[in-house]
């Protein structure tokens, strides 16, 4: 091993770090938004599809939007709106709750492996995903 060899190895690892910075984004294929109402799982929404808005609660007062690897509380009749302000949730155990409506939203990543990187950097996803 010579000095140039060490330099090359460091350069390769730096390049890998650079790609990691670009492509390691929090998202996952096969990710599922799990909605729990009153302690029971009300829905498991796959985040692979086209997405949509789903209503929960007795009067449908909680609306959850799911799309391309992420989900969020879209609207709620609760006074504090903490759930809505939580914003978008990505894979990796992220969750948000609407306590007044006893509604919990959690993202479960089915496979947090390398495939997650592909989905996270998909050009047709929303910017900043």
């Amino acid at each position: 091993m010579k000095k140039g060899d060490v330099f090359i190895i460091i350069a390769v690892i730096l390049l890998a770090g650079l790609t990691a910075a670009f492509f390691l984004r929090p998202s996952s294929p096969g990710a599922v938004a799990v909605v729990t109402v009153d302690g029971e799982v009300a829905a498991r929404i796959p985040l692979d599809g086209a997405g949509g808005v789903y209503s929960f609660g007795a009067d449908g007062q909680v609306r959850i939007r799911a799309e391309g690897g992420r989900a969020r509380f879209e609207a709620s009749d609760c006074p504090d709106q903490t759930c809505v302000r939580s914003g978008w949730l990505h894979a990796g155990g992220h969750m948000a709750a609407c306590l007044p409506n006893r509604c919990l939203l959690a993202i479960e990543g089915a496979d947090p492996g390398y495939d997650a990187l592909l989905r996270g950097s998909r050009p047709d996803g929303e910017a900043g995903l």
């Binding site: 000095k3 330099f7 090359i8 390691l24 990187l117 592909l118």
Partner: protein
């Protein structure tokens, strides 16, 4: 030993055969945790060809190996991948070959990394998405041990070369 055209042709043939055999062996190594990850055993031969016969013959040997491997177990789609990878690797190794500060270890690691870069580039063109570059997050760091292993094997085989030119590297 005197280098004649016949000798070069014979050596090239032996190297193509060896590279083909190594591709075949690698074909049987079970699937790696990262898709597309391979040890790059055939790169041992590209290294030998580069050091013994020069860049031009190394390119020919690599191309012949890619075509043969594609005919036997790849197909045309894989030929584009392996050719791009092989020529990226060769370009990087040829650029570093002969530099005093770099030994065969550095040359081999650079070749392995360039191989992955080339294949990923080919994949991104073929699938029309830059998303495949995320594979480099794993492929690039892994090309360091793979490249070092290939260089080590090269050093071991160089001992048996008739001119003992291996001592130079």
């Amino acid at each position: 030993m005197k280098r004649t055209a016949a000798r070069t042709a014979a050596e090239s043939g032996v190297l193509v055969a060896a590279a083909f055999a190594l591709s075949y062996i690698e074909h049987w190594i079970p699937a790696a945790p990262v898709p597309g990850l391979k040890l790059g055993l055939a790169n041992i031969v590209t290294l030998i060809a580069l050091y013994r016969l020069g860049t031009r013959y190394a390119a020919l040997v690599a191309a012949a190996r890619c075509v043969l491997a594609a005919l036997l177990f790849g197909g045309l789609g894989s030929l584009a991948f392996s050719l791009t990878g092989a020529f990226f690797a060769l370009a990087a190794m040829a650029a570093l070959n002969g530099r005093k500060a770099v030994s065969v270890y550095g040359v081999s690691v650079a070749g392995a990394a360039a191989h992955n870069l080339g294949q990923t580039l080919a994949a991104s063109v073929l699938m029309q998405t830059p998303a495949v570059f995320s594979y480099l997050v794993w492929l690039l760091p892994l090309s360091v041990p793979a490249g070092l292993l290939v260089a080590l094997i090269y050093r071991l085989t160089a001992r048996f070369s008739p001119e003992r030119r291996g001592s130079r590297h």
